[in-house]
Subunit: 195 residues, 2 copies
DNA sequence: CTTTTTTCTGAACGGATGTTCAGTTAAACA
DNA sequence: TGTTTAACTGAACATCCGTTCAGAAAAAAG
């Protein structure tokens, strides 16, 4: 046996990425073998190397893709209004975006140490860009007298940690809708930074 | 060669745990081999099995030890005063405790999925116990009219996520002392739950 | 239909994995 | 001192790892 009936690069490629994402999120990058990913796709291990040069690149591409999507979708929303309105928009966006892709979030935050140094620097830069946007909002709010935080950098990281934490407990079948969760967190963020 | 000069169970045992903790935190449980741990201790891989039945128990003991220490040190502080005072005590304690043992925190939050199902349940139970203490404080504060949160369970998880996040960025050589960090976070927590 | 190209198989590579154990040696005990 | 005991070595076990590659087969092109 060799080439399977109905096989095509344009269908197998994405399936490899999806299987890798799901397995990395569930068991961790180091605990997942190329053979497991291949089995999930329904292919032999060697075939994976038509779609990725190696296992490391598979992880890097997943993380880069996640961060690129985050920054792109964020940039797509025209950030208007005062700092308070922009902070609410950021808060609700962050929760909605992260709850929609729990596996990618999990991998992006847990597998940073499994990136090669060069790849780590790239992903870290993207993350920094995202954080800088929130810090800019907090700075503007401080200048406008709307907010009162002792340290904008610390406040930025505190808010992001609080918001991202939602992915560790939220379940779709639970008692709260995404919008309700957004509102609960927004009220806490608003008060935490208020003047 | 066999038994090394100066060797003794009471010194090697703890050194195995220390090496495992450091390596697990740095590279992840699945990425660290028993031979690497042994090399760090200065011993052959087989010798590790005098101190742990297997690799899984090594991880479980580290995580249990961490959670036990957390609960024990927390219980040692007599929780007096009103809900506001207790919340401040909890906040400052949480930051101080976690910043003092970054490796154990990292492992305890990142390697949960590498625990066997039975071991996971135990560690999860300990974590729940700790969370329940914070939720009790929030409930009391709500009843006393000191706090105003829409959902005590969500607020509990949000506060803990925010506080624990400090371990991802704090460095001893940085510009802020632990006490300063405590105060910054306490002000944010206080405002976030205030009535 | 024939030829070319793309996709995949199946086997193989050297090396690493967790774990076991008979044997060796240093320390503790008598 | 001699004897026992605890700590460790070094080799071995079967199995898995990421990656490569010649060759087979299906799809696409002519």
């Amino acid at each position: 046996m060799a080439r399977t009936a109905g096989s095509h690069s344009e269908t197998t490629g994405p399936r490899v990425q999806e299987a890798a994402l799901r397995l990395f999120a569930q068991h961790g990058f180091a605990a997942v073998s190329m053979r497991q990913i291949a089995a999930e796709v329904g292919v032999q291990a060697g075939a994976l190397y038509n779609y990725t040069p190696d296992k490391q690149s598979l992880l890097f591409d997943l993380m880069c893709g996640h961060m690129d999507a985050l920054l792109a979708e964020r940039a797509a929303r025209g950030a208007g209004g005062d700092a308070l309105a922009r902070l609410e928009e950021f808060t609700r966006f962050h929760i909605r975006f992260h709850l929609a892709r729990p596996d990618a979030v999990f991998v992006s935050y847990m597998e940073l140490r499994n990136l090669s140094p060069g790849n780590f620097e790239v992903v870290e830069g993207l993350r920094r860009t995202y954080e800088d946007e929130l810090e800019g909002i907090l700075r503007d709010g401080m200048a406008a007298g709307l907010f009162d935080v002792a340290d904008t950098k610390v406040a930025t990281l505190a808010v992001i940690a609080m918001l991202t934490g939602v992915t560790t407990w939220y379940r779709e079948a639970g008692r709260l809708s995404v919008t309700e969760v957004e509102t609960i967190y927004w009220n806490m963020v608003r008060k935490a930074v208020s003047a």
